[in-house]
């Protein structure tokens, strides 16, 4: 008996190790592949073309043959979408975890599961129809643009933020819930001073998922305002360029190997943007939880 049990334990351990190695290997292979094909094309001129970088950053001159407009477009798109989605998603998550009765909760859970399962192309179509509708309502002033894309994307990532907020709050032990209440905190004070700060890690993981999704999504933006060449977006109501669309466009239309390499380069830049945004989310989380919990 003892021998069999020992083998079982060892088997599970080996299997877990193998799965871990497989996953890690896959991630390294994908990123490695990108770098092998793309690192040669990475240079300042890939981003800024022939325009001096400082002039481009200060918006003094347009960048024509570089990725700068797409970088700015993607960044604004992610930041805008996440900014719409965070307050609404967190509020819904808080409502579900702390206020909703059993019936409402079951109904809304089903509803948000359906929302989470919507293919992005359907969300894109919805955004497209909304743009057309708005265009009829205000002729000439509203057409597919950055604002509509970001709102459609926010719908796409809302379920992540709702779910992670709800799960993080519901996962807190009863003792953590009762402490502040026993000290005279109102329900809202308990949520804002104690429960939310303790759930920040979970909420941030939802935000990171959302950032990743906004960065990669092509289906939604293709239908709601992205174009191959528009320059840096001038306002919320203008067309824009975006990296994932550029990658898609280049990979389907490239004429030579060099052009394809710029697609890989764009993919590396997209990864770097995501990394920077993830790190920003972590730093904000640390600052917020420090201020909420430890500041005297």
């Amino acid at each position: 008996m003892g021998e069999v049990r020992r083998l079982q334990e060892a088997g599970v351990l080996v299997f877990s190790w193998l799965c871990g190695v497989l996953l890690l290997g896959a991630v390294i292979a994908v990123i490695g592949y990108l770098f092998v094909h793309g690192w040669r094309s990475i240079s300042l001129s890939l981003i800024f073309g022939a325009t001096p970088p400082l002039d481009a950053l200060l918006m003094k001159r347009h960048v024509f043959n570089g990725l700068f407009p797409a970088v700015v477009g993607t960044l604004s798109l992610i930041v805008l979408s996440v900014c719409w989605a965070i307050p609404i998603g967190m509020a819904s998550g808080i409502y579900l975890a702390e206020y909703a009765g059993a019936g409402t909760k079951a109904f809304l859970n089903l509803f948000f599961d359906i929302l989470a399962g919507l293919p992005s192309i359907v969300v894109g179509l919805f955004g497209f129809s909304a743009a057309i509708f708005l265009n009829r309502l205000f002729p000439g002033s509203i057409h597919p643009c950055l604002l509509i894309s970001s709102i459609a994307l926010a719908f796409l990532v809302l379920p992540y933020i709702i779910r992670t907020t709800q799960m993080a709050l519901e996962g807190l032990p009863l003792s953590a819930r009762l402490t502040a209440l026993s000290l005279g905190a109102s329900k809202l004070q308990n949520i804002t001073h104690v429960l939310l700060p303790q759930s920040l890690s979970g909420i941030v993981s939802g935000v990171i998922l959302a950032i990743g999704r906004c960065a990669e999504d092509t289906a939604v933006i293709m239908l709601t305002g992205v174009v191959a060449s528009a320059g840096v977006p001038r306002s919320l109501f203008s067309h824009y360029e975006a990296l994932p669309f550029y990658i898609y466009y280049i990979s389907s239309q490239y004429t030579d190997r060099e052009e394809l390499a710029t697609g890989y380069g764009a993919a590396i830049i997209l990864l770097c943007i995501c990394m920077v945004l993830f790190l920003t989310a972590f730093v904000i989380k640390r600052q917020v939880s420090y201020h909420a919990l430890y500041r005297a």
Partner: protein, 237 residues
């Protein structure tokens, strides 16, 4: 002379998870006394305390019938009356849990937290009160040089005293203590008992305790919770 009554329960029924903890219990607790609540483990002593600050309302699958009235400012108030301000009740009825429950904050903020929630006090007043309460709970000497480090790094006994200090800072009229000395050594437990005797001068204390000698040392009245009823066991002469 008969002592004034602070808390009065009438036909109090309480069940948790479908299990009856209290069944039609009517009992009175005298003002400025230490009442010990004893009884076998699992009889619901800790749960009974939760009916006196309405904290059970935050726990799923609990139900309560009957009334609890407390004497605040010279007259009795039904704490379950609709619209009764529950946050004020919980400031007047402090509680120390059996398992220390410091919040994941600094030592200082843990103790200052109830005052910050209440609001309307200057930082200096809060600082002075934090020091006062930490001294009363016999913790000041051990933590005065690291008030801003995490309370979670304290030992179990220190956390227990931190929670006592935190419960004292609102100067409650009633104090519900669930085995407040279970994690303390003899000397510190004795110091806390001394503190309770001191607090008794202007506070009504309900103490759940398993230590018979502690009960006989400091309690004025002993009440046993058994089979869903509270029975008065004895009073000090």
């Amino acid at each position: 002379m008969e002592k004034a009554v602070k808390i009065r329960t009438e036909n109090l029924c309480f069940s948790y998870n479908g299990r009856t903890i209290l069944h039609k219990t009517s009992i009175e607790f005298a003002e400025r006394e230490i009442t010990a609540i004893v009884g076998p483990s699992g009889s619901g002593k800790s749960t009974f305390l939760l009916t006196l600050n309405r904290l059970w309302e935050a726990i799923p699958r609990c139900s309560l019938q009957g009334t609890v009235a407390m004497n605040f400012d010279g007259s009795f108030h039904d704490i379950y009356r609709e619209g009764y301000p529950v946050t004020r009740l919980r400031r007047q009825v402090g509680m120390v849990f059996q398992i220390p429950n410091p919040l994941p904050m600094s030592i200082y903020r843990n103790v200052a937290f109830p005052l910050q929630l209440k609001g309307g006090l200057t930082k200096e007043t809060i600082r002075a009160q934090v020091e006062d309460c930490l001294r009363k709970a016999r913790l000041w000497d051990e933590v005065h040089d690291r008030l801003h480090s995490s309370a979670l790094d304290l030992s179990g006994g220190q956390q227990q005293r931190l929670c006592i200090a935190r419960a004292l800072i609102l100067q409650p009229e009633v104090l519900l203590l669930d085995e407040p000395t279970s994690a303390l050594d003899h000397a510190t437990a004795a110091a806390i008992e001394e503190l309770l005797l001191e607090l008794k001068k202007n506070c009504t204390i309900l103490l759940v305790s398993h230590y018979l000698n502690q009960v006989t040392r400091i309690a004025d009245t002993v009440i046993e919770l058994h089979n869903g009823t509270l029975v008065r066991k004895g009073e000090k002469a």
